[in-house]
């Protein structure tokens, strides 16, 4: 009966997983689109600027802030937002072209882990003597193992048709595993822990019982067969002994 239930249960589980495979495939495509979403129409000459190496402009200050995330925790595979503050101390307006970032290994900056999707802007400008903030939403690969990594973020902009580039962040981020408290590993671990505790408790209980039985048990008195009533023995039914005893009873 139990085996039947087990079979039905596992077939049910297998059937439950089938639609999941399709959904997982679709999700990765959608994510790529969202990461590359723009705040306006893409400029044609963006590709010339993104990925190039330009120098920072003298009258520009940049700052980076992880909103409500001072520990710079980045869940792997999920969107993280950071804000880029730009201050234009110069005399001419500044046009933001794109914000891009990349993840590197912490101990060797030359080792590139992942190039994050660049966020391009069409109509983003910072007037002179003003500060402006721009958002940058990114997601590291969900297969990236948890740990400390280096994030390098740069903003590409132009002043009077000349391209410039500033690094707004060159520091560490903490990549953590995405997912809530209830996961496959945690449920199994918790159940294993509880069962081990229960087993230990049972063993201790057994030991206590054994020890208490040893001290409590009264010495057994050997009675012997003499006190038993011979007429109660079943095996004597139909034998000569029984017949003679019944005759003597009848006579009485």
């Amino acid at each position: 009966m139990a085996i039947k239930i087990l079979r039905v249960f596992f077939i049910g589980l297998l059937l439950l997983q089938f639609p999941l495979f399709q959904v997982v495939r679709c999700q990765s495509e959608i994510e790529a689109d969202v990461e590359g979403s723009e705040l306006g129409i893409v400029r044609e000459d963006v590709q010339d600027f993104v990925g190039g190496n330009f120098k920072p402009a003298p009258g520009v200050e940049t700052i980076c802030l992880f909103p409500k995330n001072s520990a710079k925790v980045v869940p792997a595979g999920e969107k993280t937002e950071l804000l880029v503050g730009m201050e234009n101390v110069g005399q001419s307006p500044l046009n933001i072209i794109a914000i891009e970032a990349s993840v590197h290994l912490p101990f060797d900056h030359r080792m590139l882990v992942q190039n994050l999707t660049a966020q391009v802007f069409d109509n983003a400008s910072v007037p002179p003597s003003t500060q402006a903030t721009f958002p940058y939403i990114f997601a590291v690969s969900k297969f990236l193992q948890p740990g400390t990594f280096d994030l390098v973020g740069t903003v590409v902009y132009e002043i009077n048709q000349s391209p410039y580039q500033s690094t707004f962040y060159n520091g560490t981020i903490e990549v953590v595993e995405a997912g809530g408290f209830v996961s496959v590993e945690s449920v199994f671990l918790v159940t294993l822990g509880i069962s081990l505790v229960v087993l230990l408790g049972l063993w201790i209980h057994g030991q206590f019982k054994r020890i208490s039985q040893k001290t409590k048990a009264a010495p057994k008195v050997e009675v012997g067969t003499g006190t038993t009533d011979a007429s109660m023995d079943e095996w004597l039914q139909g034998t000569a002994y029984n017949q003679s005893s019944s005759k003597s009873k009848k006579k009485k």
Binding site: M1, L6, Q131, T133
Partner: protein
């Protein structure tokens, strides 16, 4: 003795250097403002826009007379339901945060591109009023026609989100049930033995 005195002082210097390197703003304030807008569909002809604006002072000095003005919501397209599109505060200390939110009702269907909110403030070292812009918002599709979600799609989404957790919890519970309850055959055997 000298190393003991030297080390904490050097550590403090290094920390100060690192902090200043990351902020790169000298002793001036740096205002960062985050504007977020989200849509909530009330019914087929009404949509609520919830706007929240956070202002952070990432600089090293306090700013005074902070005033937030968000005029990017034209009156012919939006009605203010709660809150106000402008607010002012007396001061914002270095490392502090100010928040403001309001709600609007969208009247007309279509794509709306919002402009950033403007924050003005005063600093003791400068005479003129300083200006800062918040983050721009993504284009809002007001009263967009949503494709009717198939029941199957909804079920698939739910499965994808909670499938692994449900299956692992059910496996564990089933295992506990198997271990805890004796099977019918063994129960019959035990009752026979008793007799």
């Amino acid at each position: 003795m000298e190393t003991v005195i030297g080390n904490p002082f050097i550590k403090a210097l290094i920390i100060l250097f690192l902090v200043s390197a990351t902020t790169a703003a000298g002793d001036a304030p740096f205002i960062i403002s985050h504007k977020k807008a989200s849509l909530t569909r009330l019914n087929s002809c009404a949509e609520r826009v919830s706007v929240s604006i956070d202002i952070y002072n990432q600089g090293f000095s306090t700013v005074y007379d902070v005033s937030l003005v968000d005029d990017s919501w034209p009156k012919d397209l939006f009605d203010i339901i709660s809150g106000n599109t402008s607010k002012s505060w007396e001061r914002l200390d270095a490392g502090g945060i100010l928040s403001h939110s309001f709600e609007l009702d969208a009247k007309r269907q279509g794509m709306f591109h919002g402009a950033p909110a403007v924050i003005t403030y005063r600093v003791p070292t400068k005479v003129s009023l300083q200006e800062a812009y918040s983050t721009p918002i993504l284009p809002l599709d007001i009263l967009a026609e949503r494709p009717t979600e198939n029941k199957l799609d909804w079920l698939q989404r739910l499965l994808a989100k909670y499938g692994s957790q449900i299956s692992v919890v059910s496996i564990v519970l089933f295992f506990i049930y198997l271990v805890a309850t004796p099977s019918k055959a063994s129960a019959a055997k035990a009752s026979k033995k008793k007799r």
